[in-house]
Subunit: 132 residues, 2 copies
Amino acid sequence: MPTPKRPAPDNTGRFAYDGLERVMHEKARLGILTSLVAHNDGLLFNDLKELCALTDGNLSRHLKVLQESHLVEVWKGFNRNRPQTLCRITPTGRARFLEYLNTLEQVIADAADAARANKTASPALLKGWSPA
Amino acid sequence: MPTPKRPAPDNTGRFAYDGLERVMHEKARLGILTSLVAHNDGLLFNDLKELCALTDGNLSRHLKVLQESHLVEVWKGFNRNRPQTLCRITPTGRARFLEYLNTLEQVIADAADAARANKTASPALLKGWSPA
């Protein structure tokens, strides 16, 4: 039975990507943080909602998680007597998000290297193995 | 009260990142897929487990999800009478993962552009707003 190539023995955890903090990695929160990094002075709740294509409920829920992790701050104010909510990334949030992005870049570098190195598809059937 | 800059009106969903398919975006599964893209002939279960720093149970659970989404195939075989499990990315899985990586690159481009454009931190207090 042909056995696949073994990875180098010192490669334990090579693809574990511990830097992908779950609080920032969640798809909607990744969009929220990118929006807020792109708008340093903060964004009004409704504008952020549109940029991320989220519902009121979903955005509120994710903002709460980000706020509890000290990544984002939420401010209340009034404009012509109408209540407004402003969301802004914190300095800590900014630093941690940039660290997260470094790990994300590593994922892409690993996968892109791999895709370049392995251009041919493997044969459909594996001699000596049976599908599970 | 100072209000923040508004985003351009045609930017709805600009940071929604629909291409980040949840089945591939989950942190452990992202590691598994990157490992398998880097090892085109497949990886033995135990080697994959080490590369991703996962437990048996966690790896099995994530492989099941990836298998059900037709991204990964699992093969059973024997080596010197010992049962072996081989995991391999499917051609579909490879194509979908490369698409996913394109969206991930977009996230990084957006965030890196933003980080370059907004180097200064905002003031700690927002005049006219109160913390929520």
